[in-house]
Symmetry: C2
Subunit: 309 residues, 2 copies
């Protein structure tokens, strides 16, 4: 069903999930496969009349056991909700669901890297509007976490710890903080409104966080997304990527090293109406060309977060 090939010039795996061309594409409002199954209504992916958070195998998977995993995480049975509008207790519960999946998938021998993410908005290709995220269990270490490990090696220590210290010291790109978590536009953001949400203490993964830290992480993520939505007074598209320690090789997920839990948001908008496209420089050379300095977008986002509060 799925095939991997090594791309020699890029030094990376490419995955072909050739059945996915037929996947569900923007279904009508009353045929959402991520809704609960209403009595008398069409059967959805979730065969119960109501639920809080649901996790199941992706019907159109990029990876399948015993060679990786692809799961869907539905945040709520409210079709029109979002990460931003979940009740705080539900957002906190989502952190525990993520933690559970990280531990369970990370313990599998065929999973080298557990990647929790959310695609939001048609601008990033979303085909189902019901609030949900996904989890991939890669059977190899993908390029981006490999680059983060390389940054640790280059700096001789935890790169996210060092970068967070610099952000706290500089101050001008900070967006929001609580006792456990700091949100900021990073010094060298690739996207105009890129935001990183980083654990204040060194935590390799969700598994290393205290219950209070999980609650504080949920609070910070919701604050950031409410700010995004307030920025242009519209649902704000983004890719959200949860980066944690790899679990492959001799690493066990409960004692994972070489990672520091942080959540990265990549929003494709550079104004209320205009998208940032990945074109010649980004695709062919690998260098992002941006339109605005991170300090400028941080100032805009701070105001938006205040409006969204």
């Amino acid at each position: 069903m799925s095939e991997e090939r090594f791309n020699e010039l890029r030094g990376e795996q490419v995955v072909y999930a050739i059945h996915r061309q037929d996947r569900t594409f923007l279904p009508a409002r009353d045929h959402c496969p991520l809704d609960a199954t209403r009595p008398g209504g069409p059967e959805t992916e979730i065969p119960v009349p109501a639920f809080e958070i649901a996790v199941f195998d992706n019907r159109f998977p990029a990876f399948t056991a015993p060679h990786g995993a692809a799961e869907v995480v539905v945040y709520t049975d409210d079709h029109d909700g979002s990460l931003a509008t979940l009740a705080p207790a539900r957002a906190e519960a989502l952190m525990w669901v993520w933690r559970h999946r990280y531990l369970e998938l990370g313990a599998r021998k065929d999973v080298e890297y557990v990647f929790i993410f959310e695609n939001r908005g048609v601008e990033v290709g979303v085909t189902l509007h019901h609030p949900h995220g996904q989890i991939y269990g890669y059977p190899f270490l993908p390029p981006v976490p490999a680059l983060e490990l390389a940054a640790d090696a280059r700096l001789g220590g935890c790169a996210p710890c060092a970068l967070l210290a610099e952000e706290l010291s500089a101050g001008g790109r900070l967006l929001h903080q609580n006792d456990g978590v700091v949100a900021y536009v990073p010094f060298a953001a690739r996207w105009g409104y890129e935001v990183h949400v980083t654990m204040r203490e060194h935590r390799a993964s969700l598994a290393a966080c205290s219950a209070e830290e999980l609650r504080l992480l949920a609070e910070a993520l919701q604050t950031v997304v409410r700010g995004f939505d307030a920025l242009f007074e519209r649902p704000f598209p983004y890719v959200m990527a949860v980066h944690q320690a790899p679990t492959g090789g001799d690493r066990s997920p409960s004692a994972a090293g070489g990672g520091h839990l942080h959540v990265e948001f990549y929003p494709p908008l550079r104004t209320a109406e205009k998208l940032k496209y990945l074109a010649g420089s980004e695709q062919g050379a690998g260098t992002f060309i941006g339109d605005m300095l991170p300090e400028e977008s941080a100032a805009e986002l701070r105001e938006a977060i205040a409006r969204g509060a």
Copy 2:
């Protein structure tokens, strides 16, 4: 005007060209800045009444001397032309223009990598429809050519030479060939209709090609783009990236090593109507998930090239 910052987690430079937010955006048909300046008409970027090929500094540059370069290459004064529809002699002349710019920019001390590219179609963010490409002279070696050098090192020789030999041997992904150039969908394509056009002999750059090879390169590029346009019977959007040897450090452009001239096309369409989006896996993990095998898209493209001939 422009600022570079090192993105530690990705190990790459990010460039901020903060004046570009105001750049010309899809101007009206009779106000195209890449048209020739007609007598009595508005003054364009090109102050002559007619021209064949024009090269000038980008008015909204990502790089400026003495810290890199950003140029525009207008293929023709025919607003409605394209690389595919240029007269063969004009397409051949374009190769000589590219070669000239590679040599001239590559000789500059502030340019480490000369990158010739074209963005085509609103799907990749094109703001001017007049047929044109661009050239960036990066003041550093960008990530993608660095990965190609790493592939050479990993394989212990020229990676494009080795990959071309494999494509010729496998045969099933070949699209078009002549005595100088081979076009194919690569074994591990990241984009559904990705095409590589590679010099048959080892040629580090345009500067190393014979006049006949330049003519044959133009012929192959035009054949591929005509095939693209025939595939869905519409102008086919793409990013075209010309990869050559870096020119920085102790390399001189006329004796450049560590590179093999090839042209990569990255088309964002995966069907006539549907775009491939770079979402969670591509952006957050760095792994492309594709919908179709390269052999399948090669078969479609071979038929399209026959129709487009």
